[in-house]
């Protein structure tokens, strides 16, 4: 039996960047145009494929049930072999990754890719690791993709070199190597207790687990959780994050915004799969850690946003606010809250990514320190980085107006003001928190929900203050009145990402319906488990048999 072409879709978002990255290694560094074109082509194709995947799993079959695309690697059925699983959540994350990947790649084509060797290769491998981690259905395979992504991210963080990046990279790598070891301990403990590494099989086995083994399982899950919480940036495991994200080159931090969301994704997936409502005694294990840890992260991030002088640090701490909000929402654990949180995830990732790129454009020429440095470099005849003649491309007309509008949009999005999706998402989360049984049902509200509401509003307020302060200083009170030289291909990605958030507002109804369907699937994972474990082997074609 031949498999139809579309059956191979779940592996395509992993294979494509892998092949593109491998091909790019073989090309000489001097063939810049060819390398850029291959990289760009791979990203465009990746976006198209991931949209196909989204369309496939977003549809419903004849019985009105959600489709989960399962792909057995090496044709071994589920608990024995490794499977790739694409459901609504993973397809959405893959699409988001490809959008951000394409946007940052286009941005980097203006100048950043020249700052060091093998930019495109590392970039493709990062996309491969991210997509693989989103699509895999196996815990150990997750570790492998996680490491692929991390190894690429080490290289990308150091891209462009310099003492600041190397110092931030040193801390970042040390923390992440430690986290990888915790990951291994957690995975092996879980394997030792349950005898399986397949996520769906794990979820199916947990309800029957004997009482005396549960303590070991929960210990394993907790250790594993710490590894992901480090990645997601939960307080107090997040002190490495703002310096690293600030130090990285702009297009790199724009993709790194997605990397934090990988930690969130895995926690959301594993928590609801393994410790969901069907998990017997272990149901809801550790949700207080997520709730209060998330709240502490929001508070830490908001204070950090207020305290930051440089725009880069505002963005770094905004990543933490976003992570904290999502973790707390997972900790509250209701279907409606999850749907709102997913909407928030998409909108905040797009915002932060656009913001990281925007900062680089705004600060180019505005930063007093950079000006002094540029003058000094001119005086000494060393203009390596600011090579003006080397910049070919169309300059952006009306630069300051465009940048100002983008900045204002980012501010509105980060602060969660209406009408943009930052507000809609927070509203969706809060309204479900206060009406867990649906609108109009009288229920008692937990004190933690009030605290969370207060913190969410405070964090939005802090973002508003920080952004208006920075905006006034940059656009109105600027003493030098230097207009940064900005190319169209640098502004275009920022504009596109922001236009997407506007599109999310206009089409909020269908998007929210998708998120609600996703949340329904996550909170009742029976369909997911059944489709993974019920997958049949594909028979070989007659002609191939001896």
């Amino acid at each position: 039996m031949m498999m139809p072409w579309s059956a191979h879709l779940p592996i395509a978002p992993i294979l494509l960047p892998l092949l593109a990255g491998a091909l790019l290694v073989t090309l000489d560094e001097r063939r810049r145009v060819a390398k850029s074109m291959i990289s760009l082509g791979a990203c465009v194709l990746l976006l198209m494929l991931s949209l196909q995947l989204l369309a496939r799993v977003g549809a419903e079959d004849e019985a009105g049930k959600a489709i989960t695309a399962v792909y057995a690697l090496g044709n071994w059925p589920a608990p024995f072999g490794i499977v790739l699983v694409a459901d609504r959540l993973s397809a959405m994350m893959v699409v988001l990754t490809s959008i951000l990947g394409l946007a940052s790649l286009v941005f980097s084509l203006a100048r950043w890719y020249k700052a060091g060797p093998h930019f495109h290769t590392l970039f493709q491998f990062l996309l491969m690791g991210l997509n693989g981690a989103f699509l895999t259905g196996d815990l150990f395979n997750l570790f492998v993709f996680f490491e692929v992504m991390l190894a690429a991210s080490y290289g990308l963080l150091l891209h462009g070199s310099g003492p600041v990046r190397v110092k931030a990279g040193l801390h970042y790598i040390a923390v992440n190597l430690g986290a990888a070891l915790l990951f291994l301990i957690g995975v092996s403990l879980i394997y030792g207790i349950t005898g399986t590494l397949n996520m769906a099989d794990l979820a199916a086995r947990i309800p029957e687990l004997r009482h005396e083994y549960r303590i070991m399982l929960e210990a394993g899950a907790a250790v594993l959780g710490i590894a992901f919480l480090i990645k997601a940036g939960m307080w107090p495991l997040n002190f490495w994050l703002p310096p690293a994200y600030t130090a990285a080159a702009a297009p790199v931090s724009a993709v790194f915004a997605m990397m934090s969301k990988l930690g969130i994704y895995i926690i959301l997936r594993l928590y609801l799969l393994v410790f969901g409502a069907d998990a017997g005694e272990s149901a809801g294990f550790g949700h207080y850690v997520l709730l209060y840890g998330g709240m502490a992260t929001i508070a830490f991030g908001a204070v950090g946003v207020l305290a930051s002088q440089a725009l880069g640090r505002v963005a770094g701490y905004s990543v933490l606010v976003s992570s904290g909000t999502l973790l707390a929402a997972i900790g509250v654990s209701g279907q409606g809250v999850t749907a709102g949180a997913l909407f928030y995830l998409v909108s905040s990732t797009l915002t932060i990514s656009a913001f990281f790129m925007l900062i680089e454009l705004v600060e180019r020429g505005q930063d007093a320190g950079a000006n002094v440095l540029a003058v000094t470099m001119e005086a000494y005849g060393d203009a390596d980085e600011e090579d003006v003649e080397d910049e070919v491309g169309v300059l952006m007309p009306g630069t300051l107006a465009v940048l100002g509008i983008c900045f204002a949009l980012c501010g509105i999005l980060l602060a969660g003001l209406p009408p943009l999706p930052g507000f809609l998402a927070k509203f969706a989360m809060l309204s479900s928190m206060f009406n867990p049984g649906g609108l109009g049902m009288a229920t008692t509200i937990d004190a933690s929900v009030w605290w969370l509401t207060g913190l969410l509003i405070f964090s939005g307020f802090a973002a508003l203050i920080a952004m208006s302060r920075a905006g006034i200083r940059t656009f109105w009170a600027s003493i030098e009145h230097t207009v940064p030289r900005v190319l169209v291909i640098e502004v275009a990605p920022v504009l596109c990402l922001l236009a997407l958030t506007v599109a999310l507002t206009v089409r909020a109804g269908p998007v929210m319906a998708y998120m609600e369907a996703t949340a329904r699937g996550l909170h009742a994972p029976t369909a997911y488990i059944e489709s993974v474990l019920g997958l049949q082997r594909v028979e070989r074609r007659e002609a191939l048999k001896p």
Binding site: A151, S161, V166, L170, G178, A180, L181, L184, I185
Partner: protein, 114 residues
């Protein structure tokens, strides 16, 4: 045998964590290596300890699973060793770069001011 393995893992983890928290880059990387050895042994341990038991089926005949050892942890350890080795090598390069750029082997890139 279990006791010896447990004590060995414990000592290596303890030394590894202590070294990881030290201020010199060389100590940090040795600490990370020790930790990864400890973790690799730990992964072996979760499969259960058996002496002289093969992890793969014999070529012919029926095998008794009770006389065999669990092959999955061994496969995991193999992968973990390869990945750990690669990332440690990469970390070493970053440390050398840091040493070259800052002129010190302190993890913060500068000596503590007195």
């Amino acid at each position: 045998m279990e006791l010896v393995l447990a004590i060995g893992i414990g000592i290596m983890t303890g030394s590894g964590v202590w070294l990881l928290l030290r201020p010199r880059t060389y100590q940090v990387i040795v600490g990370l290596s020790l930790l990864s050895y400890a973790v690799n042994l730990f992964i072996f341990g979760v499969g259960g300890l058996k002496k002289n038991a093969p992890p793969i089926l014999p070529y012919s005949g029926v095998a008794n699973p009770a006389t065999m050892t669990d092959p999955v942890p061994q496969a995991l350890v193999l992968t973990a060793i390869v990945i750990g080795f690669a990332t440690t090598a990469l970390f070493l390069v970053v440390m050398l770069a840091s040493r070259g750029l800052t002129g010190t082997d302190h993890v913060d890139g500068r000596e503590k001011s007195r």
